[in-house]
Symmetry: C2
Subunit: 157 residues, 2 copies
DNA sequence: CGAAACATGACTTATATAGTCGGGAATCGG
DNA sequence: CCGATTCCCGACTATATAAGTCATGTTTCG
């Protein structure tokens, strides 16, 4: 009972922050892995390894050699936070290691599946609708900002 | 990259299902751990251990000896899914093992914290508003049901 | 008293997480 | 074409969590 039910892993968090650094360059020029990691005070090799993984999924492009580095694979406005998290951590939401739609129950738990599906849907409604460009510009979509304005949204429950 | 970013653990899922069995009894009489586990085909000892944990948090009450068992600690309409998950898995949402409000960033990642807080808020908006009684009765709040009606809500993305 | 049932803690096994490390392969600048 | 830069790849480690199992003790009803 140490980890929360939802846990954005270190790897996923680093990945998002690294891509935000790339997204912040309007010319999308190559930036070395070490510079990316240093600018956000993240563990260099770990982040580099993760960036290479992201290249395989096409989210970033890379160039070797002197004056090489990483750049975004497509415009920052077309990469959502969900895209990044899925690329490094797999499906957004699972129940007992399986997808919510496969969680089928009997008896009094019958309708629990609906709750899990709704949970995933609510996650998607946030993470699939914020792009890297949004975060860099500080322009979070209004509907999502509103969620942070409910009483106690910034406090533990 | 085996586990999704959000993972309802086996323990949490068993806990919810066990409490649903209790919630389904309108007289709230004591039900033995073994009967609870068997009725939902869950591992007996594991579930029993979890129920004892839930007793410590007050969500269930227990009685030893012959004709003993477990019963809900308060009305099913006053226990939300979030209550159960928190009791067994801790905080609903964390980022790199810490609470979202503590995730503070510099530079282009500055506004990322807002995204994490919104994510937690959206989770809460579902899990804190469905009670055990709702699930047993199959009466999921309309606002939440609506989430499951968006296109592809029941399909992997 | 004896059977039923909760209570507790130790134990096991497997997997995931969060990294580090070393060397190889490409590429650019001079 | 040489050498510095930088990505690329795989192996390795340590720690923790997850998901159970098991043995034993303690209450309590009938």
């Amino acid at each position: 009972m140490q980890n929360g039910a939802v846990n954005i892993s270190a790897k996923a968090e680093y990945a998002v922050r690294a891509l935000l650094v790339l997204a912040a360059d309007p010319e999308n020029k190559a930036i070395p892995g070490e510079a990316i990691a240093r600018s956000q005070k993240m563990p260099t090799k770990f982040v580099e390894n993760t960036l290479v993984e992201l290249r395989r999924t096409g989210l970033v492009a890379s160039q070797r050699g002197a004056s090489g580095g990483f750049r975004l694979g497509r415009p920052a406005a077309h990469i959502t936070i969900a895209d990044v998290i899925r690329a490094v951590d797999g499906p957004l939401a699972e129940v007992r290691g399986d997808r919510p739609e496969n969680a089928v129950y009997e008896g009094p738990a019958q309708h629990l599946q609906t709750v899990w599906v709704a949970t995933r849907a609510s996650l998607r409604s946030v993470l699939e609708h914020v792009t890297l460009a949004d975060v860099v510009a500080g322009k979070i979509p209004k509907r999502i900002l509103k969620l942070t304005e409910v009483p106690d949204a910034w406090r533990p429950h």
